[in-house]
């Protein structure tokens, strides 16, 4: 909960390491020479103009897309498939959840490979649903819930296996402002309590500064590179109203904004 935990900077502790990663679709170059080290416990925000390859970067880290050039390692091991102990939250919760399963069964799904008995899977998913504030919704189906609640289900499903690296692809991009703020605070609470390393992709500059320990800015494509890498020096406990009014917040937001708009 302290500032020190949130921005723990240990040079030796490399939860995620990208070295000269490039990605292309045919002749179309998407990412170019991305080198990035994320220490354990950091909440890194990746921002950039739309179409700059943020999602491609995330899919590369998740092992869903093999790196065309360079290497990705998670917790020291090179990524060849989806790494163990990694979880992803996608933007499109409506498609990412399985509508034919109840909320509880959706959340319990990743527990199957851990060989837990049915009762244990159930107890575990109810515990995590309680944590994201959905204890009453376990027996409903995702499409019976509001968008914000569906994204909470997706977050619960990602957290249920206690991942050490959590990737989020514009997770709150299609939610209304109030819901979005609630979920940002839920994410910060989870990060503070579990110390999970998080890579959070967003196109929202305010959001990146508000939730992040560090903000990385990608240049517009094709061949996006990292143009800025900024630490966020804000108090660990953030508050939707107070934090956004701090002079440091305003200054940093302006700096990230200029970088996204093309100034270096």
């Amino acid at each position: 909960m302290s500032h020190a935990t949130r921005t723990r900077e240990q040079g030796t502790d490399r939860m995620l390491q990208l070295t000269a990663v490039g990605q292309r679709y045919g002749d179309h170059r998407v990412l170019h020479d991305i080198t990035l080290t994320v220490p354990a416990g950091q909440l890194l925000c990746v921002v950039g103009p739309s179409g700059c390859g943020k999602s491609t970067l995330l899919r590369t880290i998740a092992g869903l897309l093999p790196a065309h050039e360079g290497t990705v390692t998670v917790d020291g091991a090179p990524v060849t498939g989806v790494p163990d102990s990694l979880a992803v939250v996608f933007q499109d919760y409506g498609r990412s959840l399985f509508p034919w399963l109840t909320v509880r069964d959706n959340v319990a799904l990743p527990l199957r490979r851990r060989g837990l008995a049915r009762a244990e899977r159930r107890a575990e998913s109810d515990r995590i649903l309680d944590r994201v504030g959905l204890s009453g919704a376990a027996r409903r189906h995702p499409w019976q819930l509001s968008g914000g609640m569906q994204q909470r289900v997706a977050i619960a499903r990602a957290l249920v296996c206690r991942p050490t690296l959590l990737l989020m692809d514009e997770p709150f991009g299609s939610l209304d402002a109030q819901t979005r703020e609630d979920l940002e605070d839920l994410l910060l609470e989870v990060h503070r309590t579990d110390g999970t390393t998080i890579v959070f992709v967003t196109h929202d500059i305010d959001e990146s500064v508000y939730v992040g320990d560090r903000v990385v800015v990608l240049s517009p494509g094709p061949g996006s590179r990292i143009v800025r890498d900024l630490p966020v020096r804000l108090p660990g406990r953030r508050d939707q109203i107070a934090t956004r009014g701090l002079p440091e917040f305003v200054a940093l937001r302006a700096e990230v904004g200029r970088a996204v708009r093309g100034g270096e």
């Binding site: 899919r59 998740a62 869903l64 498939g81 989806v82 163990d84 990694l86 979880a87 992803v88 996608f90 499109d92 498609r95 990412s96 399985f98 509508p99 034919w100 399963l101 799904l109 990743p110 199957r112 490979r113 027996r139 409903r140 189906h141 499409w143 019976q144 819930l145 509001s146 968008g147 609640m149 499903r157």
Partner: protein, 282 residues
Amino acid sequence: MSREAETAPQGSPAPASLPTRARAAAHTVLLRWLVLVLAVGIWELAARAHGSVYFPPPDRIARHVHELWFDGPARHLFLSSAAVDDILPSLGRMTAGFALAAVAGIVLGVAVGRSRRAYALTNPVLQFARAVPPPALVPVFVVVFAFGTPMQIASIAFSAVWPVLINTAAGVRNTDPLRLDVAAVLRLNTAERLWFLVLPSALPRIFAGLRLSLSLALILMVFSELLPGTANGIGFTLTEAQTRSDLLTVWAALVLLGALGYLLNTGLLAIEKRLIGRGRAP
């Protein structure tokens, strides 16, 4: 487990009040029956006015259906011994053929649909196989199996398998790529991916195929019973009555077939609704 017992979802619009909806539904049902009664009424009047032995009025057909098949004892569900001899063998062959077609169609459809290459390679062959009018294949099966029940079941199964296979393959092929990513990230194994993702999302297409197959199975059931080598069944009753110029029995068999087809389709729709309705937005 009843979903209705739980609180209404917050995100969905308030449903129309129940009495209003119930009344609208009752209205539709009433209208449907009215059209049916009207059609039968016109048939009755026209048949009586014409007085032809070839076109008996529906009330005589209905009475004949009852006498032939449904005046048995209550403990036999009112089925007469003729019904046991005619309807059950037909239904048995059809069920066997349709079940074979459904299982083979779904299994092969999943296998074909899971690989882009297999799908592209087999698609022309499948479309060709589907395009052949199924009754035309029956002579082939007569040669292979000789007359009798195995030939009939094989004809039904071989004709009914294509719609299930093709629709299952297309449904499996269309699995949402994002959901496949989700399955990969959740590290589901092949069986789990099939059971929790691929099959449920292909289910509407699979049922579309099953409905087509069911009507084909009924057609082939009758057709295969028209051939020599059959000693019972509805199709057999039909040809036999025709050789005796017993038009009343022919019409009775036709009514019975129509009713059977309707009931089977309704049953399949009920299963579909139960399986698919559970996991989809209404």
